[in-house]
């Protein structure tokens, strides 16, 4: 496509307010745009897009002038310069976004913000390689804040608010990359507020992405019930073909569910290739502390790489609890009159049966922790080396214990 044809297509989109089509023409991945710019520069090394784009309507002319300059910089491999141009393009775009009466500008906004982030990442990569401080992604976060503010304000048309969730998602991705997670909190609060458009008004891709990150942040903050709700939403509504994203949701959802005492069914394990969790699930089911320890040792590197090691480590107490529950049940069979008084020696013997030789101090410590963390209702008699458990419901469901953490 020649540059003239490109501009003509752009002008036509603007005239008929074709948001989706303009969005396709504006994304930096647009083959048409890249080709048009390349063609314009052929045999014309000093080519400046400002003149050609000046024929476009006001505001759009400035935007496309900077946008095309950005494409030139990208083609020359100058990513930092490209980022500067992308930021320069933002100002006129936001002006158009504000002033246009229609909500059709929401679609092009999508490309504008995605471009900004992609180029910021490329620019940081370039800076890193040059041994300089990579600060463009952080700057991009600031630019997105402006976009977010305008979208939320939605001057002239409430439907402009529909640009907001996409911007939120991009911002969150940036905060995760830069490890400035505390900045997510205010954003998420705004999403929940009345200022924000109804959640279901947004497209599925944006809703699922958002819920994934809410879930991830909840995991980070140890709000496991919240994490479960959000991650389950993300999993349920995820597009069936999106394998990478589905796997990512499960990566966090499975440990969270385990912590809450919900085991993935064999069908789920098979359907999503979660075989690395099988020994952990077995250990939780049977109270096999040895199996749990051995698995965590063997899979340590893998779980650390996947970022789930610390989460899974928390399951150890759930496995101890399960073992103790078995001891309690066996003990109740053998000495029904003394069912509520479990000699710690029996707990110790149970561990020894699994091949774990622990001395009484260690066993007592574990027992104390189980009580303290509310996995077991009862108290310890240190002198008698006995654990006295509640007569009813001494082992509350795991999802009540995890909350106390």
């Amino acid at each position: 496509m020649s540059f003239a044809a490109y501009l003509q297509a752009v002008g036509a989109c603007i005239a008929r307010q074709d948001g989706p089509q303009l969005r396709d023409l504006v994304t930096i991945d647009s083959g048409a745009a890249q080709q048009a710019v390349m063609q314009a520069r052929q045999g014309n090394p000093g080519w400046n897009p400002a003149h050609a784009t000046s024929r476009l309507p006001e505001g759009w002319a400035e935007f496309f002038s900077s946008h095309c300059a950005c494409l030139v910089a990208l083609q020359d491999g100058s990513r930092v310069e490209a980022y500067e141009k992308a930021v320069a393009a933002l100002h006129p775009f936001l002006k158009v976004f504000r002033e246009d009466a229609g909500a059709w500008v929401v679609s092009p906004m999508h490309s504008v913000v995605h471009n900004l982030r992609s180029i910021a990442q490329m620019a940081d990569h370039e800076l890193r390689r040059a041994g300089q401080r990579p600060d463009k992604l952080g700057d991009c976060g600031d630019q997105l804040r402006k976009c977010f503010a305008v979208s939320l304000q939605a001057p002239g048309n409430k439907d402009k608010k529909l640009a907001a969730l996409d911007i939120v998602n991009l911002s969150i991705k940036i905060y995760f990359r830069l490890n400035t997670l505390r900045l997510c909190k205010n954003l998420m609060r705004t999403v929940d507020s009345r200022q924000f458009a109804a959640f279901n008004a947004f497209p599925a891709a944006q809703r699922v992405t958002y819920k994934f990150y809410v879930g991830r942040l909840a995991v980070f903050n140890e709000n496991y019930q919240e994490a479960r709700a959000s991650l389950e939403y993300a999993l349920q509504h995820c597009h069936r073909a999106a394998q990478h994203n589905k796997a990512l949701v499960l990566k966090y959802l499975v440990p969270v569910q385990l912590l809450l005492g919900h085991l993935p069914s064999p069908a789920l394990v098979a359907a999503h290739q979660l075989h690395q969790y099988e020994p952990i699930i077995a250990a939780m089911r049977s109270g096999d502390v040895k199996l749990f320890n051995d698995t965590m040792d063997a899979q340590q590197f893998r779980f650390i790489q996947e970022g789930t090691y610390l989460l899974l480590e928390k399951l150890r107490y759930a496995v101890f609890r399960r073992l103790l529950r078995k001891v309690h049940a066996v003990h109740a069979k053998l000495e029904p009159e003394k069912r509520a008084q479990i000699p710690l020696a029996q707990f110790q013997a149970a561990l020894a049966t699994q091949g774990l030789e622990l001395d009484m101090d260690e066993v007592e410590c574990i027992a104390a922790n189980l009580i303290f963390r509310k996995y077991v209702k009862g108290y310890l008699s240190h002198k008698a080396k006995v654990m006295v458990v509640a007569k009813t419901d001494p082992f509350p469901p795991l999802d009540t214990a995890a909350l106390a953490d």
Partner: protein
């Protein structure tokens, strides 16, 4: 690409972070028909019972019985 074997060894911090990031979906919007019904599937909750029919519990019972008998014999002396 140069040295693909070397690249596989230790993923860079950047790569780890990238893999951890939610990808852009190929489609923007879809309805329930594009979802996977298997995803709403079963998480088991009733595994946490007091059933002691399993092998380990039986072994434990035998072991604890043995210990109790030893104690009784010891106390008897």
């Amino acid at each position: 690409m140069a040295e693909p074997a070397k690249q596989q060894q230790q993923p860079t911090q950047e790569q780890i972070v990238e893999e951890d990031e939610f990808e852009e979906f190929a489609v923007e919007d879809w309805d329930a028909s594009a979802e996977d019904p298997a995803n709403a599937a079963l998480w088991e909750q009733d595994w946490d019972d007091d059933n002691i029919q399993d092998d380990f519990s039986q072994r434990l019972k035998a072991e604890l019985q043995r210990q109790m008998q030893q104690q009784q014999q010891g106390a008897g002396k």
